[in-house]
Symmetry: C2
Subunit: 180 residues, 2 copies
């Protein structure tokens, strides 16, 4: 049975994207700072293990309509090499890409159900702040993986805002940081 994962890179102040998300700024203004550690020459091998594992484990993707809209031009493909389900009430034909096909599904519950049906033993990875919050609120999520990035963004989209009090299973994590 596949598990449902919410994975996000999050700033210390809780943002997983900057403000004013657009085609020019798919992560929002300044939001690319949340992903800098993933790219370039100086990627920490310990970080690479995490992002590679998420990619390898992902058997299907559920993503929000806005994440699809601004992401597609940048990925030029599905976000992970797997069938990908876009939550939207607009009816659209499937959209095949190099490494998988986008299907368009009305509602997060239906999208997670369809994703589970094709993921097999692998993970259903949920992407996009809005849909991630909806999936958490609906109790559809089995695991949350946060890559906590040592920056403050000050504005943007917060993953955990507007959710009711919840408890997760797992340890307290101690994060020691210096000021620049």
């Amino acid at each position: 049975m596949s598990k449902v994962l919410v994975y996000a890179a999050m700033s210390l102040d809780g943002y997983i994207a900057g403000p004013d998300v657009s085609h020019d700024h798919p992560m929002g203004v300044d939001g690319a700072r949340l992903h800098e550690w993933m790219f370039g020459e100086h990627v920490d091998p310990a970080d690479r293990v995490i992002t590679k594992a998420v990619s390898a484990d992902t058997g299907a993707v559920v993503l929000g309509r806005r994440t699809f809209d601004v992401g597609l031009a940048h990925w030029e493909d599905v976000p992970y090499p797997a069938p990908s389900f876009v939550v939207t009430h607009e009816t659209r034909p499937d959209l095949p890409q190099k490494s998988g096909t986008f299907a368009f599904v009305p509602g997060v519950e239906a999208a997670v159900e369809r994703a589970k049906a094709v993921a097999g033993d692998r993970t259903v990875t949920v992407m996009g702040a809005d849909i991630q919050r909806q999936a958490l609120a609906a109790g559809l999520v089995d695991e949350v993986l946060i890559s906590l990035v040592p920056v403050l963004l000050g504005a943007g989209a917060k993953l955990f805002d507007g959710l009711p009090p919840m408890a997760f299973t797992g340890p307290v994590t101690h994060v020691r940081l210096g000021t620049a």
Copy 2:
């Protein structure tokens, strides 16, 4: 030279206290959930190492007036065994306790300066969301230690809200949690 530390237990959604802080609820309503891992029979030894080290390293404390007001009845002492400087514009005589003396200082910069003068090689630990934010905004902080607790509080006082964009030195931290 002593370093200045902001230490806080923080929920996943960024709260370091619940709402409606009062004498009955010194951590705010539900805020005690942020500290449960520190107390009781089932404390993780790895967690104890962290909290013991903060206590042992602390050579002076800077705290906010509200933290002092609601904390004193619970500590029945200074918060750590060290001289403690309360930021307030009210003039008050020093208030000796079992393990140190409270002094009352107008302004966070003056309080940090006085704390550094007595901390020697040990750490100046800054307590209380408001004063921690002021110290961060004023560039007075050398190190931030966050104990990230796997709960959502949904309301209360946030450590990092209202601060300008900042970057800290230190690694990305990957936190994997289950849903209950």
